[in-house]
Structures are given as C-alpha cells and as structure tokens.
C-alpha cells in the first residue's frame, strides 16, 4: 500500500489512531500555546508576561488557521496581538515596569485564581468536546472559514447577537468616557 492510499483512507475514515500531519501540527501548536499561557501567569517579570501573552495569542491564531478559519485568525492577530497587547505594554511602561523580577508580582489570591481558571477550563473543554465530538473538518473540500462564509453566517444567522454585542461595546465606550471625565475634578469644560 503506498502512502497516498493510506492518506486517502485516513481522510475518509477519520480517527484518533491515524493522525494526519495537520492534526499532529495542531496538537503541537496547542501544547506550545498552553506552555506560553502558563508562562504568562507564572513568570515574575511583568513585561515578559505580556510578551508570553503575545506568543499564546499568536499560537491561537495559528490554530484558527489550521482549522481553515483564515478570517478569524487574522482578526485575532489584528485585535489581540496588534492592539490589546500594545495597550497592555503601554500601561506597563507607564508604571515603570522594572527589568528583572517584580517582588510584588505575586497575589495572595493565587489559589482562588487557579481554582477559577481550572473550573472554567474544565467547563469549556467539556462543552466543546460534547458539542463537536464527531465533527470533522474536510480540509480537501471547500474552505469553511473564508471571509465570505464567515460574513454570510454572521449577518444572516447571528445578526441579533452581533447587534447585542455592538450595543454592549457602545455602552462600554460611553462608560469609559464618563469615568475619564469625572476624574477632571468635577470641572465642566464647556
């Protein structure tokens, strides 16, 4: 049996015992992402934590790419790596984050945080595994995550959640403006 038929058979009858190259890559990238995420919360150096966060978020983008969700992957890079982390670094630099260990980078709530994170992770993994147990993405057929497909499903089937999220973000925006104006010392500028 030549390798071509083996691959074709694996593509037709997906299973956990005959992983394809993409699946192996997916698991490896996932492990790297998990490692970077753990380093983010355990490192004692504040800016290093932000930089490990870049690695973790970038790893997530690669996972999206491997799941053929190209559009979501680039949005992930644009919003999280390009903007959120830059904002985070900006904030850290304003606090004169020192080079080397920050002695007060530890929190007394460590074990509570571990508990919450563990519970959230277990819930998410359980829900996702339960929902997508037997779903396989056909990598050789039509790409399912193109911007066209994403846009169609977003604006045909998921318009209401989309609009609700927009209103939520608008409320956050207004709230931020209100909060930042109040710190002026109550002076009206108009």
């Amino acid at each position: 049996m030549n390798p071509g038929t083996v691959l074709a058979a694996a593509a037709h009858h997906p299973g956990f015992l005959s992983p394809t190259g993409v699946e192996i890559t997916f698991v490896l990238v996932g492990l790297a992402t998990l490692g970077a995420a753990l380093l983010t919360v355990t490192t004692k150096q504040l800016v290093h934590a932000a930089l490990w966060l870049v690695v973790a978020l970038g790893g997530l983008a690669v996972e999206y790419l491997l799941l053929t969700a190209e559009f979501i992957a680039w949005v992930q890079v644009l919003i999280y790596v390009g903007s959120v982390v830059v904002l985070l670094l900006f904030g850290l630099m304003l606090t004169k984050a020192p080079i080397g260990r920050s002695p007060d980078a530890d929190s007394g709530n460590r074990w509570v945080a571990v508990g919450v994170a563990g519970a959230a992770a277990v819930t998410l993994v359980w829900v996702v595994v339960d929902a997508f147990r037997s779903t396989w993405i056909n990598l050789h057929g039509a790409v399912q995550g193109t911007s066209h497909a994403t846009g169609t499903s977003l604006f045909r089937h998921w318009v209401l959640p989309f609009e609700a999220l927009s209103v939520l973000l608008l409320a956050a925006l207004v709230g931020a403006i209100v909060l930042s104006r109040r710190t002026d010392g109550g002076k009206e500028t108009e």
Binding site: Q45, V47, H48, L51, V54, E70, F71, W74, V75, V77, L78, V81, G82, S83, V85, V86, L87, L89, F90, L92, M93, L94, K96, A97, I99, G100, V143, T146, S147, H148
Partner: protein, 320 residues
C-alpha cells in the same frame, strides 16, 4: 513537486524584492534629500554617483561591535530587531504586483492579513524601548505605542472603505474590481491611509518617537552594529510596504495602458512615486509635536475616514 517548486520560487522572489527595494529607497532618499537641499549626497562609493553607498554602509554596520547594555534584558533586547523586521517580509508576500497571479501568495482575507501583520512590527519597537533600560528608549517606546494606538484606527477604517467598495477582502480581487474613478471616490480615504501609514512607520513629520533633539533616537538609542541596521532596514521595508499597499488599494495597482503585458511595471512605478513623496515630506515638513500628533489622529483623520465610509456606502448602494 511542481507546486513545491512554484512556492519556493515565489518565496525566493519575495525575499529578493525584500532585500533590494528597501536599499533602492534608501539610496534614493540619500540622493533626493541631497539635491533638495542643494547638496550632491554620496558620490564616491561604487563610482557612479555613489550608487554603492548603502552596500558600504551595510559592510560598516556588520563590522561594528554588537553591544548589549549591562542592565538590559538581554534576550528581549536581542530579539527586538527581528520582531520589527520580519512582519514586513510577511506582508510583502501578499501584495499583488501584476495580473494573472503575479503575487507571492493570494490570500482570501489578504487585506486583514496585511494590516494585522503590519501592526505586529510595532511590538519590536516596544520591546527595544523597554529592554534597553534607558529612559530615552522608554520614552520613545511610550510615544511609539501612543502613536500606534491613535493611527491604527483611521488606517483600518480607510482600508475598510476600499474593501466595501470592492466587495472583497482579497488584495488581487480589490485591484481587479478597480475603475479609474475610484481614485476620486476614495481620495479622502487614500490620504487618511497614507498619513496614518506614515505615522505607523514613524516617518517625518510623524517622527516624534525618534526625535533626535529630545530623546536621542528613541527606542533604538542603545543599539549598535547589525541590530541597528536591521531597525533601519525595517523602516525602509515599511516604506516599500506602505507605498505598495496604497498603490494596490487606492491607485489601482497594475491598471494602466497595456496592463496585460507590463502591469507589474505600473505597480512598481506608482509605488516609486509614492516613495518619492514620502522622502519629499521628510525634507519639507517640520516634526509634529506630541499633542499635535494625537489631535490630528483623533479629531481630523478618524472623522474623515468615517465620512469616507459613509460616502462609500451611499455611492455603493446608489450604483448597485
């Protein structure tokens, strides 16, 4: 096998472009600035009008000692130039040069890819500024971050306007659906995009983060030798990428007379003209102050880009 060879050849071509074009822009900057200021510029290296000046500069940089300050965060400090430079190489892969698949790799969401990856380059400056353990570097990095956050939004909005007009996010697709009157229709968006791009590259008049009279050279103050050269290369690669993108999005890329055969020449020509404008702006405008920078972004560019999006939407509905 043929497919692999095709991909490898395309990547090599992109790499060659990435290594050559920024140097051409740099040399042009030397000569154009010199002539605008009534000088001759480099005249000796290489013989003919100093054409090899930047090669000589490269050799000089490679010979210099690579110093890492004692108090710096070594690994972050050494990694920063690569983080600043590599995104531009990746972006070049997605920019279409000519019709019929004359592009490194056509991507479905190419516009998003390009903008997302360009935004990552700024992390290099931030890492450099923080890891140098130098207050001038830190100030430069702070200004870089503030500038990026202010100018990223108008740039995205202007690009979104083009995507709306073309009805696609793919860069070759956008150029294919271009008509000559688009340049007028998207004129405001184009200007906003170009200005915001200049600000993201920290080119004059938006070079407050590297203002030499105040903070020496901003985030790059502590760098020497090859690593410093990589930051400079990133700046010029950024110019090439920005001009190429503006050409593709707003000036119609390969469209022009005989586009079928010499389309790639049109793209290069338009990119070169824009690069000339970038140099011209450096010579003619004084540096904007930090508050002026922020004011320009939030009170001029963002409203203009929003107005452009509204205009695009209205025209798009009317003509369809």
């Amino acid at each position: 096998m043929n497919d692999t060879l095709d991909v490898v050849l395309r990547l090599i071509a992109v790499l060659v472009v990435f290594l050559v074009l920024p140097l051409v822009v740099g040399q042009t900057e030397h000569k154009v600035m010199a002539h605008m200021q009534g000088r001759l510029g480099p005249m000796y290296a290489g013989g003919f009008h100093g054409w090899a000046q930047l090669v000589a500069d490269g050799v000089k940089f490679a010979q210099k000692e690579d110093v890492v300050p004692a108090d710096a965060d070594r690994r972050v400090f050494q990694l920063a130039p690569a983080v600043a430079l590599l995104p531009y190489l990746l972006v070049l892969i997605a920019i279409p040069v000519g019709p019929h698949g004359f592009v490194g790799q056509a991507l479905d969401a190419g516009l998003f890819f390009v903008l997302a990856v360009m935004g990552v380059g700024v992390l290099g400056s931030l890492m450099a500024g923080w890891a140098s353990a130098n207050k001038f570097s830190l100030l430069g990095a702070l200004r870089t971050a503030a500038q990026l956050m202010a100018y990223e939004l108008p740039m995205l909005l202007a690009a979104a306007s083009v995507a709306m007009a073309a009805g696609t996010l793919s860069l070759p697709g956008i150029v294919e659906s271009y008509h000559w009157w688009w340049t007028l229709w998207q004129l405001v968006g184009g200007l906003v995009f170009f200005c915001a791009g200049l600000a993201e590259l920290q080119r004059p008049p938006f070079d407050m983060p590297v203002a030499d009279s105040e903070i020496i050279f901003g985030a790059y103050t502590e760098y020497t030798g090859l690593r410093f050269a990589l930051f400079l290369l990133a700046e010029y690669a950024g110019i090439v990428v920005l001009c190429g993108l503006t050409t593709v999005l707003f000036l119609g890329g390969w469209h022009g007379p005989w586009a079928g055969s010499v389309g790639w020449l049109w793209t290069l020509l338009k990119t070169a003209v824009l690069a000339f404008v970038v140099i011209w702006l450096r010579v003619s405008y004084p540096r904007l102050r930090e508050d002026q920078l922020q004011k320009l972004a939030w009170t001029v560019l963002i409203p203009l880009s929003l107005a452009q999006i509204a205009l695009t939407g209205v025209v798009k509905v009317v003509i369809s």
